[in-house]
């Protein structure tokens, strides 16, 4: 954002004030995430920086909370559960959501607005309400306290994200490419795999990532409908924060921040790939 040459002095000052302001807001956004990373290496069971940490005394740092985490069967079991539930519900949500998105992006889709509003609603309805509702219903049909129950619930919560991202990708999809492929002699199957799929994949994958992170991060529904066998990471964190707040939580938090960085990087790569394939170049 360059300053135009005709800018007055006041405008120049304002410009730098504005940039300073933005820096502060970015700090507000990112700072908290950065603060916990060093704190998770605290040698003391405190939530704040100790004297030793501030003077960079190696004594002040340790990996004990990470050790705590990796040797605790509760945490490891919770991780395993989170991945099982996350992956299963992601697959379900992605398959159902992608198929539906294909229908939704058809020009002749009847009652599109209503159906879309309905499909997005799990994202909008407060989680506590969904959780209470699912608790009653799943209890009645013997799905509460089972893996299947939690997976189905998380599938429902992940679906809006898949539908949104995939329909967005499909709407920017140039249908003349299909006709071009046909006219060049490709049969429908070949067209689908060679033309449609590569162009749509980034959207599907990013939808899947959203669905996964939704499940991976979800507390409320699990709190209500899961049994002791389905304890997930967020549940473990939730009870940790409420009961005995130990820096192990910060170690877990740091690992989760790394995970989200990884997911974000994947997403960014996908986006660039998508743009390249569609022939859009970043300006």
């Amino acid at each position: 954002m360059a300053i135009p040459s005709y800018a007055t002095r006041g405008e120049r000052i304002w410009h730098y004030v504005f940039l300073g302001l933005c820096t502060l807001i970015f700090l507000f956004l990112i700072g908290p995430l950065l603060v916990i990373i060093p704190l998770s290496f605290n040698a003391q069971p405190y939530f704040t920086f100790t004297q030793e940490m501030l003077t960079f005394d190696p004594q002040g740092y340790s990996l004990r909370w990470y050790q705590d985490f990796f040797t605790s069967s509760r945490w490891l079991n919770a991780i395993k559960n989170s991945f099982i539930i996350g992956i299963a519900s992601t697959i379900l949500a992605t398959v159902l959501g992608t198929i539906a998105a294909l229908g939704l992006s058809s020009r002749h889709m009847p009652a599109r607005g209503v159906i879309m509003a309905l499909l997005i609603s799990p994202m909008i309805v407060p989680l506590i309400i969904s959780a209470a509702a699912m608790f009653f219903f799943f209890s009645r049909i013997n799905l509460a306290q089972t893996y299947l129950g939690v997976i189905l619930a998380h599938t429902a919560l992940g679906i809006p994200f898949v539908v949104i991202t995939v329909t967005a990708t499909l709407s920017s999809f140039d249908t003349t490419l299909i006709r071009a492929a046909h006219s060049l002699g490709a049969n429908p199957t070949r067209t689908f795999f060679k033309v449609v799929l590569p162009l749509v994949t980034p959207g599907v994958v990013s939808g899947a990532l959203f669905a996964f992170i939704t499940s991976f991060d979800e507390v409320v529904v699990v709190l209500f409908i899961a049994g002791p066998e389905q304890r997930t990471m967020p549940i473990q964190m939730w009870s940790g924060i409420r009961e005995q707040i130990s820096p192990t939580i910060l170690a877990v938090a740091t690992l989760l921040v790394l995970l989200s960085m990884l997911l974000l990087a994947t997403l960014e790569l996908l986006r660039r790939r998508g743009e390249r394939l569609r022939g859009v170049t970043p300006g």
Binding site: F138, S139, R140, N142, A144, Q145, P228, E229, R242, Q244
Partner: protein, 370 residues
């Protein structure tokens, strides 16, 4: 243990069938079952683990899984029974919750003499537990107490608080107070500190004037109260000196005094004691009967008192209470039931709270929000 197994089986309709199921029982015992036991977590579960679970697992090869859900046990039992999929085998619960669960048919009625072990001197179980503690579906384990504790470092050595009145006395004993965010105990303490007689507390709380009087007394310290919700918070708050006084479960304070050497002291005056114990979810009696018979006998209850300062609910166990497993100190003076501590104790009236908790909780919340 064997004795109970056979006797309950012979009660079955036919001898042949009984023989078959005795076989099944024996095989079942060998097959090493998994027991899901719900309790409170923290130091309390640990004391159960060491007094009951560990020796039992060693003896039988069973696996015991601890589930820290006692705080939501009633909701859990309800939803599991609705779901027709009860995964809990044995639940540690407060008597008031147990009364509700029992009335809803969520837990098994218990014939104490039939299911539990006799005292070593042959006293039947129905006479070996604290008077009035055996209710329809309930097997008490311990007596614990809600007390107010303080950090001795916060007050001059020659003027340490000692009574419940001191907790409400901001002038002589300034500082923040940490109280549990619920009406139970706080209303009782308010009335006791206001000079109401022990015997009249619950009668008064059934009247509008009594309730108003209790809230009025609480009003005098309201601005100096931090409300806690998890049992681990009060020792933490006292240790950090964020508060001068904190209401707590006596075992948590004892634990912090012994294992962390915290300079805490318990005000035993006006302790509100209650029981804690086992209930058996409907349909689980056969599965847990052997464990229950063993884990509630005289020696086991006395053993638990070596790990946590809660008094055994069996009279015959009290005599067996010895020293702390690690610190080696005599446990008796730290028990709520120790005569000196017990002089001004008030028993929590579960029937009262079963009736009035809904109404008074709402009123308490409204009072907090004012």
């Amino acid at each position: 243990m064997k004795k109970r197994g056979t006797s309950s089986v012979i009660k079955g309709s036919s001898i042949a069938f009984a023989g078959l199921s005795a076989l099944a029982l024996a095989v079942g015992a060998q097959a090493q079952q998994t027991l899901n036991i719900v309790s409170w977590g923290g130091a309390y579960t640990m004391s159960q683990q060491r007094a009951y679970h560990d020796p039992w697992m060693e003896q039988t090869g069973d696996e015991i899984i601890n589930i820290d859900q006692s705080g939501n046990a009633l909701a859990g039992l309800r939803s599991q029974s609705q779901a027709g999929n009860v995964t809990w085998d044995l639940v540690d619960m407060l008597p008031a919750d147990a009364m509700i669960a029992c009335a809803e048919g969520l837990i098994e009625p218990i014939d104490h003499d039939e299911l539990l072990a006799e005292a070593p001197d042959g006293t039947p179980p129905s006479e070996d537990f604290i008077d009035g503690s055996l209710t329809e579906c309930y097997i008490p384990q311990i007596v614990y107490s809600n007390i107010v504790a303080f950090n001795t470092g916060m007050f001059p050595e020659d003027d340490q608080p000692s009574t419940i009145e001191d907790v409400f006395d901001l002038e002589n004993y300034p500082g923040q107070r940490a109280l549990m965010r619920r009406p139970i105990n706080n209303l009782e303490w308010a009335l006791l500190a206001d000079g109401v007689d022990h015997d009249d507390v619950y009668d008064m709380l059934e009247t509008e004037e009594g309730i108003e009087r209790a809230f009025a007394k609480l009003d005098t310290i309201k601005d100096h109260v931090i409300w806690w919700e998890e049992g681990a918070q009060p020792p933490q708050l006292l240790a950090d000196r964020e508060v001068a006084f904190a209401s707590a479960y006596n075992g948590r304070i004892f634990d912090a005094m012994i294992s962390e050497n915290q300079p805490f002291e318990i005000i035993w005056d006006a302790q509100v004691f209650e029981l804690d114990g086992w209930v058996v979810p409907a349909g689980k009696l056969d599965k847990v009967a052997d464990y229950l018979y063993w884990a509630t006998d005289t020696q086991r209850l006395a053993d638990q008192a070596r790990y946590i300062s809660y008094g055994p609910a069996r009279l015959s166990s009290s005599a067996e209470v010895s020293t702390h497993a690690e610190a080696g100190i005599d446990m008796a003076p730290h028990m709520p039931t120790y005569p000196e501590n017990f002089a001004t104790a008030l028993q929590k009236d579960d029937e009262f709270w079963v009736d009035y908790l809904d109404e008074l909780s709402q009123r308490f919340d409204a009072w907090l929000a004012q």
